[in-house]
Point group: C2
Chain length 357, copies 2
């Protein structure tokens, strides 16, 4: 066996296909890295098959998203992916694993993007997809799920309640718990390292933690392999009103993708921040809107949740080359983008009127 599946809390060795430890904690995968990490010259995640827990990958290109460098920021354009977000990386591995284990159906919960990626790879692999999403998820994302033929269940309530509803079902493989999912998202770090060589800091939005912990795991394996001297500083971005332990702040409405107060992998997230000498940064809707429009001016059409990382960059001002994965496409929620652009324009003209003439 190239890898083992371990509980992040009790250390128990779990069986292939387990999504959550019997003790209630999340699982993680640990590799024997003696077999290397790069298999071939192809520029897709198949390149990293040696450190992916599946026999093969679905017949759809995933990965090797481009980087646009602006000043010292490496914007990795994860939204230029078949399903329109970085979640494709995790979903293709998790859906493939389900198929290899003989499953015919997947059940997931999501604020939108993860369900879209799972539904897409379910189609590609011939599986059925049942998805649980908040009733308040952006209409464009719900439309896309239906176009992809998913069986969509809209749940009224918080993101946590959506998760509870989904987990009542057999074949639950959602990204909050699924250890295979993070194996897919870690390839962002492997690629970025190959593309940029030197990375001093990486900034990622934290909702359930699948991107943030993927970056951590990818960089960690590169350190263990001797490819990287030390872990980049990892900055975990949370939306106002949803930060760990935060009370009384106004809840962000724009960052719907990370509106999660108490994710299952919270302890792992905190450990990853500490180990990398990183930090948590909280951003509010005003900061997110400004960052979104600045990203637009650079040519990046992304969703507001993706702009949180750039908003945090502007606050934290890290030194050196900084990796910012731009997580999700703005094309899924154009009406929302247009409304934000309108309100920003309005504010700009108000400021103009107030300035001394």
């Amino acid at each position: 066996m190239r890898y083992e599946i371990l509980c992040t809390e009790c250390g128990r060795r779990a069986e292939e296909g387990e999504i959550r430890c019997v003790c209630g904690a999340p699982l993680t995968i640990r590799y024997d890295l003696g077999g290397g990490w790069k298999n071939d010259r192809r520029r897709s995640i198949t390149r990293y098959s040696a450190v992916l827990p599946v026999k093969s990958l679905p017949p759809m290109h995933v990965g090797w998203t481009p980087i646009t460098e602006v000043s010292d920021v490496l914007f990795k354009m994860e939204y230029l992916s078949a399903g329109g977000s970085f979640k494709d990386r995790g979903a293709c591995v998790a859906a493939q694993k389900e198929k290899e284990l003989g499953g015919r159906e997947i059940v997931v919960d999501s604020s939108g993007n993860s369900a879209i990626s799972f539904s897409l790879f379910a189609k590609v692999l011939g599986l059925k997809a049942r998805v649980f999403v908040p009733a308040a998820a952006p209409q464009g994302k719900k439309d896309l799920l239906r176009f992809l033929g998913a069986d969509v269940h809209e749940i009224k309530g918080t993101r946590e309640e959506v998760n509870r509803e989904a987990m009542r079902n057999e074949h639950y493989v959602g990204h909050w718990w699924n250890p295979y999912f993070i194996e897919g998202t870690k390839t962002i770090a492997l690629e970025a390292f190959e593309q940029a060589k030197s990375i001093d800091c990486a900034i990622a939005p934290v909702g359930s933690g699948t991107l943030f912990l993927g970056l951590y795991k990818g960089f960690k394996e590169l350190v263990e392999l001797g490819e990287l001297e030390q872990m980049p500083e990892l900055i975990a971005v949370q939306a106002s009103g949803y930060a760990f332990g935060e009370k009384g702040s106004e809840e962000s409405k724009l960052a719907d993708g990370i509106a999660i107060r108490d994710p299952p992998r919270k302890k792992e997230i905190i450990r990853a921040v500490r180990e990398s000498n990183g930090s948590f940064v909280v951003v509010n809707d005003a900061e997110i809107a400004v960052a979104l429009m600045e990203l637009r001016d650079m040519g990046f059409i992304v969703e507001p949740t993706s702009a949180t990382a750039y908003a945090a960059y502007k606050k934290a001002k890290p030194k050196g080359k900084t990796l910012i994965p731009l997580t999700g496409s703005g094309l899924k929620l154009l009406d929302e983008l247009l409304a934000i652009a309108g309100s920003q324009k309005h504010r700009a003209s108000q400021r103009k009127n107030l300035s001394p003439l």
Copy 2:
């Protein structure tokens, strides 16, 4: 000078910045290919600067879109681009040229995608964008143009009338006429050749011809450079009701991106088809809808216009490796995709009811 700008009809040598010959015909660019075609190892269109008519390129990644191979078809995922379509390639070159010539504004006409790409690169380069689009263009595309800060003029009438209206303005650089635009789109052929090595046939939707003629020009230069032995067979796809010389057919409503009866580069398109031993294929809305849903089942979320090439592939059944650029993202018109999926489902259930039990 590495290149000269020539009239496609009278042969006159034009000046830098001319968009149309004084004789009324379109212009084309001819290179001295002695300086090679690849400049560096970067995987973006900057790699091909030796055969691009600009001094530099805008600070936004363009090109090196992935290929997903399914059976013998090479699906080049052009829709995974910053502006959501292959038009980014032409617009980044054309907008950059305008900037290098000292322009501060660009005026273009478009069914949507080209205007989006021009507006995006106008933002990146600090130019103003005035765009003329059909009033009937998809709402999502018009929303996106406004998000990108373009000055949008909606014109009631055919695509040809939109073009006439736009050309009344100074600083017109639209893709129908602009010779620099095709220099950008030709990089699809250069890349596909490097990615796939062997290409026997290429299929592209033909509206104004900027994709089709770009493929032709790219492959032609590779033949002249001695890299390719012979030009692949080029199949030009037109939508029902809009084919050259066609009369009385029902007009396609789905392929809004190529609803053009009499493009300025019509003669060049016909010559390119002949020279490559290619052909014209006409597809109707029923065929486009079926192709769109089959593409979805493979995991490609594209717009109906993009599906015309796959619909033509199914009709023409070319032999060997076939390149199909998937031109535009479906995420810009999700409501339309959802409506098509609904009607296809309805038809499938009708067929079921009619089948003998």
